[in-house]
Amino acid sequence: MLHDFLPNILSGMVITLSVGIASLLMALLLGLAGAAAKLSKSRWLVGIATLYTTVIRGVPDLVLMLLIFYGGQTLLNDLAPRLGFADAININPFVAGVMTIGFIFGAYLTETFRGAIMAIPAGQREAGIAYGMSTVQVFARITLPQLVRFALPGFQNNWLVLVKSTALVSVIGLDDMMFRAGLAAGATREPFIFYTAAAILYLAITTVSILLLQMVGKRYSIGVKAAQL
């Protein structure tokens, strides 16, 4: 029974991973922008970024996802005729999922990046500027490499939670791994087997992620002495 549906579920895993990676890219951009805004001198930027991280982290993913999927759809239905589209535009669950998850984890990554940037002594940036580097050069040569090092543990956490939240897009109808496991469960009346299969595949994704990020962590902490008691 299982091997009839396994290829189907495995191709659902590709969708799960695509949603995860696409939303991660969006979250990375939002996170960097959010951290820059929170650390900026403009009171407006700090206020907006604080509002963003507080509201997003205070509301469940599922509610935000339903809001963007159903609410965004009615908004588009209202807007489409005014913008001159004859037909209604339909939000596709993939786009809604990526937008929601990217938006949510942008808020979490904002905090991760903010902490990492604050962990870099200000003197290093000042020294870079004193050597005549531009702010872009200071960011690329001094801040970014260390940012990666300091942000990795938090980033690993954020990514693992993100992958697991992609399971929620099955609720709004995206045919990811979870959705296909559900279909197979319904067709065969063997839900235990198929949800267990899904669980094992999620566990595989998290395990591989942890191993890969450990390698990245080693690469980026070259030259740092580990503290030992």
Binding site: V63, L64, L66, L75, L160, A167, M178, P191
Partner: protein
């Protein structure tokens, strides 16, 4: 914004809030009660005690809570012996399955939090207690746990908030919690914006209350670790 419809649905939201809180309290209390002994085992230097607990937390923390919920609610129904056993009275109810899934999930995370706090205990604290002539059991109850559980508070407050948001999954298995109330309002009036924004405001309020409660708890029990002014 259609405030009339929101106003009309408020009773639905209040009963949903009650459901959400019930789910939250039962799963947090149940999860914490089991996590205490598991956390102590996980922090033990004996591999036969700590490894099995690690396996449990690794699997639970590596898979989405939605999968765990579906495994319990839909998965177990696959088995004939399950449907004929006396446990079926419980397992056929969405209430019980949701509470069990949430409790098991939070138990795994809480176990790691408690184990981390125990491992971070200063060795001198325990040596001093032993040299005062306390037995291992007394040290555990009088020194180790009071000290470690306090230091676990900040991490545990995060977990409690994650759980508050996690309970929104209950709406997927037919329970009418806050998210379920929003979905019901949406299907009644077809006003997704109003429905989900209202739920979001409710969740935000609950989150702030939880954060405030934990801050008060930290001021009560963790005051000795506050930075001095």
């Amino acid at each position: 914004m259609n405030f009339e419809a929101i106003n009309e649905s408020l009773p639905l939201y209040f009963s949903g809030t009650l459901t959400t809180l019930k789910l939250l309290v039962v799963s947090l209390v149940g999860g914490l009660a089991v996590a205490l002994p598991l956390g102590v085992m996980r922090a033990s230097p004996k591999a036969w005690l700590s490894r099995p607990v690690w396996g449990f937390t690794y699997v639970i923390r590596g898979t989405p809570m939605l999968v765990q919920l579906f495994l319990i609610y839909y998965g177990l129904a696959q088995f004939e012996w399950m449907r004929e056993s006396i446990f079926w009275l419980w397992f056929k109810s969405a209430w019980f399955c949701a509470m069990l899934a949430f409790a098991v999930n939070t138990c795994a995370y809480t176990t790691e939090i408690i184990a981390g706090a125990i491992k971070a205990t200063h060795a001198g604290e325990l040596e001093a207690a032993r040299s005062m002539g306390m037995s291992r059991r007394t040290v555990l109850w009088r020194i180790l746990l009071p000290s470690a559980l306090r230091r676990a508070l900040p991490a545990y407050s995060n977990e409690a908030i994650m759980m508050l948001h996690g309970t929104s999954l209950a709406s997927v298995v037919t329970l009418v919690d806050l998210t379920g109330a929003a979905r019901e309002m949406n299907s009644r009036f077809y006003l997704p914006f109003e429905a989900f924004v209202t739920a979001g405001v409710f969740y935000l309020a609950l989150t702030f209350i939880l954060v405030g409660a934990f801050r008060a708890a930290e001021n009560r029990w963790l005051i000795h670790l506050k930075p001095r002014q």
